[in-house]
Symmetry: C3
Subunit: 147 residues, 3 copies
C-alpha cells in the first residue's frame, strides 16, 4: 500500500497471489485449523453440485480435515492450483471479487500424477485487520456443468 | 501507472495477468465477439502447424465461435491457462512482447479432465486508448515440433 | 525498486515471476549453460529422493544438458511450471525464500501431453549485482513422499 493508503492493482494482485499460495499450502498439507483461519469467522464455502454450504471456521476445518485423512488413507497427495486470476475490487464495500480457474492435481504414492479436477472458483475476499480473508467461495466443477 | 507516467515492471505484469485472465475467461465461455475485441482491429493469430493466419476481429470471432459450438456438441469444456509469463517491453514502439506457456485442459461432462495441449505462446501486445490488446499471436504446439 | 531503495512485495513478486519464466524457458529449451548462470557460482540443487546434491554451475549445466539430450532422443518436450508461489524475504541476509508447486508437463511428438511430475520446490534466491539468482533449490516429488 502506498503512503496515501490507496492500494494499486499491482499491490492487490501480489497480495491476492501470496494469499492463495499460503492458503493452499495449508490446505494441501492438511493444516485444517490454520486453513480455516484464512476465512472470516462467518466464512461460507458453496461446494459444487448444489451441496449444502459449509458455514464458519469449525465446519470448514472439519470438512477439510476429514478430506485430508481420506487422502492419507488412500496414500495420495492433492495440490490445488489457482490460475487465470481476474481481480475486481468492489467499490461499495471494499471487497475483492476473484474469478479464477482451479486445478487439482492428484498424485498417489508411486505416481503417476493426474488432473483430478478442473473448476472455476469465485471468491469474495475481504480485509480484516489489514489481512485478506475469504468471506465466500463458490466452486463450479467443469465435469458437472449446470450445477 | 505512476504519476510520472512510467509504468513499472510490477504494474505491467499485473496488467498483463489481468488481461490474460479476462481474455481467456471470455474465450472459454464462448463469448467470441467480446473475445475478439481484446485483439486490435487488425489483430493476427498465427495458428500452430503453419496453418493460414487469421486476420481481423470478424475472422477471429468466427473461428472461435465455431470452435466453441463444436465443444458444446461434444459436451466438453476447455480451459486455457497461461503461465511462466516472460514480459519484455519493446522500447522502439512501446509494444509488450510476451513469451509464455499455454496449457489447455479439457473436461467432458462426467469427467475426467485431461491435458489437451501444451503450447508456447508468443504475443505482441499494444496499448490502444490505455488498454492492452493483442496485435499478434503465434502459438507453437509441443506435440507438433518444428512447425 | 522505489527511489528509496526499498523493494515492495509487488515489485519482488514481479521480479521472482519474471525470473522463473526466463529460468525455465532456458531449461526447457536445453540452454543448459545459460540456465546454470541463473544459479550462484556455488549454487546447490538438492534433487528429490535423497540423491546427492549437485553443486556449482558446471555440474548443474552438465546434469541438465544430459537430461535434455535424453529428451531429444525420446522425441519429447518437457515444460516446467511454477505456481502457487509463496515469497518470504529473510531480513537477516536479504535472501528471498520461495515455496511453490512445480508441475512438469511432458509431450511426446504426436502427443498427448501428460502430467509428468508434481513437486514442491523450495528455493533460496539471493541478489547478486542487482539480479536474483538461485543459491539453493530443494525439490520434493509428490510421488515419493517422505524423501
Amino acid at each position: 500500500m502506498t503512503t496515501t493508503g490507496i492500494i494499486t492493482p499491482a499491490e492487490l494482485r501480489a497480495e491476492v497471489e501470496q494469499f492463495y499460495a499460503a492458503h493452499f499450502h495449508l490446505l494441501d498439507e492438511g493444516r485444517a485449523e490454520e486453513w480455516a483461519l484464512t476465512f472470516t469467522d462467518d466464512g461460507v464455502f458453496h461446494p459444487p453440485g448444489g451441496r449444502e454450504p459449509v458455514r464458519g471456521r469449525a465446519a470448514l476445518a472439519g470438512g477439510v480435515g476429514a478430506g485430508y485423512r481420506r487422502l492419507l488413507e488412500a496414500d495420495e497427495v492433492h495440490r490445488h492450483w489457482h490460475g487465470m486470476i481476474e481481480i475486481t475490487p468492489r467499490a461499495a464495500d471494499g471487497a475483492v471479487l476473484v474469478r479464477c480457474y482451479a486445478l487439482i492435481l492428484a498424485t498417489p504414492s508411486g505416481g503417476p500424477t493426474r488432473t483430478h479436477l478442473s473448476c472455476v472458483c469465485e471468491d469474495v475476499l475481504v480485509r480484516v485487520e489489514g489481512r485478506l480473508l475469504v468471506r465466500e467461495r463458490r466452486v463450479h466443477r467443469d465435469d458437472q456443468r449446470g450445477t
